[in-house]
Amino acid sequence: MLAEFNGVLLMLAIALLVAAGMLTGHRLLGPSRRFDEKLEPFECGEKQIVSPHQRFSVKFYLVAMLFVIFDLEAVFFLPYGALFRELGWFGFGAISVFTVPLVVGLLYEWKKGALEW
């Protein structure tokens, strides 16, 4: 059962090796001439005035919340898609009942302006 994951683990090991190799090569070959001005975060030639670690627009949190709702829906849809023929009209009815509240929710968010940027 778990043997089919050997390939995934192998690819993961290769991916990490590739990344580590590239970064190590860079560390070995690249020069290192550091001074304070060079290490300053880029800010159009000025000193950084505002720290980036502060509050940002609430829109992004809203998208994250919508994502959680609709991605869960997507996860339920995937196995339904695969078993669609076996489940027939019963499954279709069930998935319709499942989708209606979500579509209503989407329309509500839309009308409330949650999807405006």
Binding site: E4, F5, N6, G7, V8, M11, L12, I14, A15, V18, A19, A20, M22, L23, G25, H26, G30, P31, S32, R33, R34, K38, L39, E40, P41, F42, E43, Q48, V50, S51, P52, H53, F56, S57, K59, F60, V63, A64, L66, F67, F70, D71, E73, A74, V75, F77, L78, P79, G81, A82, F84, R85, G88, W89, F92, S96, T99, L106, L115, W117
Partner: protein, 383 residues
């Protein structure tokens, strides 16, 4: 185990050894061609320019010999981790993509996929969502305002398109009835009569003979033409290349989440972005263009021709080679399509990107699921 390593090395050699450097070259050459100018041809080795083919090698050398700068106040661990997190998903997605069918050599079966997972598509989505972390962590760890803006944009864009990406292929799963990628290709390795559905209404016999013989390969693109367009749009938006390049937005926020990355650390982001182009090509080819299958020539038919002519073992091997070449050809076509789109369309504004996702693609893909479901149930129920 040896078989596994050979398959993994083959996939890597093709994708990272051949496609990746060639794509960085094709990208510049195609841009030059489409903008009517002379493209990349400056890198030369003792006077040999080889139409710019040396540029990928020059890129690697240049990136390797640049200074590794970590900005002051940055989180050093996360700053190093972010590019690694970006590139890993691009490589491990390849594990479930079949580049050939299943071939029998006497007792042994050769299955040309690195990991034949039962719920392969779920794995693809799960791995794809890890890439979001790379962009978000990069922006957060850099201690730079532009990076943070870029990473916020990237996270919102990528999670939004992840939702629609999942929903837009459900119609295809309904048509093919599986989530296992090798099985999906076998389901597409057949033909169907274009007007065959009329049989269920008892109208098929009334058609002129030539009309009833028109067949198409039962590829996803013909079963789900609408789903194909939706899925391609979503997966291209996931990759954040132009026209969906708002997270990098070089005309607004410097370079977005990788502003503070130099040398090979930036190179890893760059590699991940370019590697995703053939990976997307391979995935879309597997889902919608029948993967390794040769149109109108299913595996049994091909084996039936090749085995008597070339013998059992050699015939099967010949079939295997033809299938792998077909798969690579389809990937090349899809890479070309992505390049053409990338250099044809101007970059979208951020609100346009988000509107396209939530207001157009999401309702359309839910509608696609229900129309597909109704069509299949009604037509097959009449039998």
């Amino acid at each position: 185990m040896v078989e596994l390593v050979i398959k993994a090395l083959f996939m890597l050699l093709v994708m990272m050894g051949a496609f990746l450097p060639l794509i960085t070259w094709v990208e510049r050459k195609q841009a030059a061609l489409m903008q009517d100018r002379i493209g990349a041809n400056r890198a030369d080795l003792g006077g040999i320019r080889a139409i710019g083919l040396l540029h990928p090698a020059a890129d690697v050398l240049k990136l390797l010999t640049k200074e590794d700068v970590v900005p002051a106040g940055a989180n050093r661990v996360l700053h190093l981790l972010a590019p690694v997190i970006s590139i890993v998903p691009a490589i491990i997605t390849l594990a479930v993509i079949p580049f050939g069918g299943i071939y029998t050599y006497g007792e042994t079966k050769l299955n040309l996929v690195i990991a034949d997972i039962d719920w392969g598509m779920l794995y693809v989505f799960a791995v794809g969502s890890i890439a979001t972390y790379g962009a978000v962590i990069a922006g957060w760890a850099s201690n730079n305002n532009w990076s943070l803006l870029g990473s916020m944009r990237a996270s919102a864009q990528m999670i939004s398109y992840e939702v629609t990406m999942g929903l837009s292929v459900v119609g295809l799963f309904m048509a093919l009835g599986t989530l296992r990628l090798p099985e999906m290709v076998y389901a597409q390795d057949a033909t169907f009569r274009v007007l065959g559905f009329l049989e269920h209404f008892g109208l098929f016999e009334t058609l002129p003979a030539w009309l009833s013989w028109i067949t198409l390969p039962s590829w996803g693109i013909f079963l789900q033409p609408f789903g194909f367009i939706l899925f391609l749009t979503c997966i291209m938006a996931e990759n954040k290349r132009p026209p969906f390049s708002a997270p990098e937005g070089e005309s607004e926020i410097v370079a977005g989440y990788h502003t503070e990355y130099s040398g090979m650390r930036f190179g890893l982001f760059y590699t991940a972005e370019f590697l995703e182009v053939p990976v997307i090509g391979a995935l879309v080819a597997t889902l919608f263009l029948g993967g390794w299958s040769i149109p109108w020539l299913p595996q049994e038919t091909l084996l039936g021709v090749l085995v008597p002519v070339a013998g059992e073992g050699f015939g099967t091997t010949l079939c295997l080679i033809l299938h792998v070449l077909t798969f690579l050809l389809k990937v090349v076509v899809l890479v070309w399509l992505q390049m053409a789109i990338r250099w044809t369309l101007p970059a979208f504004r951020y609100d346009q990107i988000m509107d396209l996702c939530w207001k157009i693609i999401l309702p359309l893909s839910i509608a696609n699921i229900f129309v597909t479901g109704l069509f299949i149930l009604v037509v097959e129920g009449l039998r």
